[in-house]
């Protein structure tokens, strides 16, 4: 007959075993950059709670995972460099040059290059990650921010917030090949997975332009109207499009809503109430969830993509800006 102690021993082991074999293995880890307190918050995707806060450089904004998913690249805007956070040790192990005031960036599909928007300098900087070198700088419009690399890596779309253009850059020639005038203060450029379109959000204009990537022409301008919210408060920023191009999500800034759009008909299906001043969006790997950063309420909202419902908000640091999900 086992003693009570042995019972307790086995009960604990059974719990541990269930935890290990259970949903933990499938859950993701969410990383959020906090612009105002110079940290990255680590959120456990299973329990949806913040589990760690990692100090990083000054004013962290754009973040992106390395292609092997072992590191997180961080735009430390006021430190004027990019930091490489090793996700195993949770320490900054390296810095990369970026040009001044890096705000946002994109990783090329090979994982070797970073395309960086230098907001104060009207430049796009191309950084070789392995060498730790700046390869070249490409002049663009005033206050470059949005960066979207086509799925095949051949084109980079950069938006300039005060010039109001989407600049299409040929990544092989490293030259601007087209400039598409969009509505005021374009913030993000997001490609569809098939490479046929890129969508550009205009924060002050209050619209999203759907651009045909072959013709380099705007084919649809999506507008938004939220009952009870003044039109001036609708400021589209983050755009996320499902891989099958059935649904698109647009973060509407101070309207505190995420718009759900039928990505085939461009019809706005509904508005989901999230935290205050929602900017960045990121899917988890299987796109069952969407995370939003809410810069004023200092939290992230978790959206169930299939149900089109907000299921939780998780408090993070001050002024959360960027978000990524790691499987």
């Amino acid at each position: 007959m086992p003693s009570p102690l042995t019972c307790a021993f086995w009960a604990v082991w059974a719990l541990v075993f269930v935890r290990l074999a259970g949903p933990i293995a499938a859950a993701d880890t969410i990383y959020v950059s906090n612009e105002k307190d110079n940290t990255i918050t680590v959120v456990d995707g299973d329990s949806l709670t913040a589990v760690k806060t990692i100090p990083v450089g000054q004013r962290p904004r754009g973040i992106v995972l390395s292609s092997d998913q072992k590191s997180l690249y961080i735009c430390a805007s006021d430190s004027d460099h990019i930091e490489v956070l090793d996700l195993a040790s949770e320490k900054v192990v390296r810095t990369l040059p970026s040009g001044t005031d890096p705000e946002f960036f994109a990783l090329d599909p090979t994982g070797k290059l970073l395309y960086v928007a230098n907001e104060d300098d009207s430049l796009v900087t191309i950084v070789d990650i392995a060498q730790g070198d700046v390869l070249t700088e490409i002049p663009v419009g005033v206050e470059p921010e949005g960066m979207g690399v086509s799925p095949d890596g051949k084109y980079l779309v950069n938006t300039s917030e005060t010039t109001n253009m989407a600049h299409v850059i040929d990544t092989a020639k490293r030259k601007v090949i087209a400039n598409i005038l969009v509505d005021s203060r374009p913030r993000r450029a997001t490609w569809t997975a098939d490479g046929a379109q890129f969508w550009v959000s205009a924060e002050v204009g209050g619209t999203v332009s759907v651009i045909d990537a072959a013709k380099l022409k705007i084919i649809k301008r999506i507008t938004f109207a939220v009952p009870g919210v003044p039109s001036e408060a609708i400021g589209p920023v983050g755009v996320a499009i499902t891989r099958d191009r059935k649904l698109a999500f647009v973060a509407l800034g101070p309207a505190n809503r995420v718009a759900v759009i039928d990505a085939q008909t461009y019809e706005v299906l509904r508005y989901l109430l999230v935290g205050q001043r929602v900017w960045s969006l990121a899917f988890n790997q299987n796109q069952s969830r969407l995370y939003t950063t809410n810069g004023v309420s200092n939290d992230i909202s978790v959206i169930d993509v299939a149900a089109q419902k907000v299921i939780k908000s998780v408090p993070v640091g001050q002024s959360p800006w960027g978000v990524v999900s790691r499987p």
Binding site: T163, H167, S184
Partner: protein
């Protein structure tokens, strides 16, 4: 594409505070930054912009300077002039086919009886500033105002706008007094004793929520905080100030404009710099959208429904068709912090909530057509 700049050096009274002396290059630095921003954009559209600067000395002839600019074919002219000089140049035959962008005169009459079809106004009018402040005070439920007014025409106009706004938004002026005290050397040793005694005497015996001051030249307003008989906040031209721009403003990407300006001018961006930047950017934005450098095309587009300017205050900015005033949010800030931005939530309007600030179409006295 040439844009004219016309300003006149005016000797300004020294403000009460030693900390913020008026810069010599106020306004024009904003216009120069606007040109730089336009040219960064212009490299993609094949357009280039040049500011043709005409700065008239205090004793100089502004009308002659305007005629000289117009004689070179320039039709879009940004001015940093007071109301009388602005009206003088706007009335010149040479100005008949020009568009003048006023970046310095906040006078209500320029948007009312003295409005002109060839002038656009970039700075908020005094009425807009007063409405922005009073909306906020009403939201705070600080509804009883003690109004103190300085001696200039501008002070009297702003005080009148505060009275009008109080009536419109449901506040009360419980005391309404001019400031007549002329202190001696107030910043010299022990001068603060006399000020303290005077302000306490001036504000004693009234029950009020907030002391609202109209003192645009900063002659006495900065003496009021902490000297009142009862502990009351100060707002208006000092204390909590409604303004087009504020040093502490960093929302909606404003940090970028602040940084660009600091780097160029080596000082902070003021309201007049901001207005001049917006004037040049409005022209640049229109040139990009219309692909035209024809001043008539530009002027018509700027006044139209499709024009929108991003001014780092969230909402898109546009010109009111009835008086040429740029509709815009107004910041409420003190020297160190942004406190709020008007229009306040809940002040509703049929077309644009920005039109709850200033003179709306049904009440305008401007009849341009």
């Amino acid at each position: 594409m040439q844009i004219g700049w016309l300003s006149q050096s005016v000797k300004r009274t020294l403000p009460l505070s030693y900390l913020d002396q008026p810069p010599d290059d106020e306004g024009i630095q904003g216009a120069r930054l606007g040109i730089a921003d336009n040219n960064t954009t212009g490299q993609f559209t094949g357009q280039s912009f040049e500011l043709v600067e005409s700065i008239v000395p205090e004793s100089g002839d502004v009308a002659a300077a305007f005629r000289d600019l117009a004689a070179t074919g320039i039709r879009l002219i940004v001015t940093d002039l007071d109301a009388p000089r602005l009206l003088t140049v706007a009335a010149l035959p040479d100005a008949a086919h020009a568009t003048i962008l006023n970046t310095a005169a906040p006078d209500d009459r320029l948007r009312a009886a003295d409005c002109r079809a060839n002038i656009l106004h970039l700075l908020p009018s005094r009425a807009m500033l007063a409405d922005a402040l009073v909306q906020y005070l009403v939201v705070k439920r600080w509804r009883d105002f003690f109004l103190v007014t300085g001696h200039t025409d501008g002070d009297r106009e702003f005080a009148g706008d505060i009275r009008h706004a109080a009536q419109k938004f449901g506040a009360d002026i419980v005391a309404d007094k001019p400031w007549t005290f002329i202190p001696g050397a107030r910043r010299t040793d022990t001068g603060h004793f006399a000020i303290e005694a005077e302000v306490a005497r001036f504000t004693q015996g009234v029950t009020y929520d907030v002391l609202v001051v109209a003192d645009e030249e900063d002659e006495f307003g900065d003496d009021l905080p902490y000297h009142t008989f009862d502990p009351r906040p100060v707002a208006g031209t000092q204390g909590l100030v409604p303004s087009a721009w504020a040093r502490a403003h960093e929302q909606w990407g404003a940090t970028q404009l602040q940084n660009r300006f600091l780097r160029q001018a080596k000082r902070w961006l003021t309201d007049r710099d901001y207005a001049a930047w917006m004037a040049v950017r409005a022209i640049g934005e229109t040139t990009t959208r219309t692909q035209s450098i024809d001043p008539n095309v530009i002027s018509a587009y700027m006044r139209g429904d499709r024009f929108e300017l991003a001014g780092y205050k969230g909402a898109p900015l546009s010109f009111r068709s009835w008086d040429g005033q740029l509709r815009q949010p107004v910041l409420l800030a003190d020297a160190r912090a942004l406190v709020s931005v008007s229009p306040q939530p809940g002040f509703l309007h049929q077309f644009s909530e920005l039109d709850t600030l200033g003179i709306d179409q049904p009440e305008t006295k401007c009849h341009l057509h």
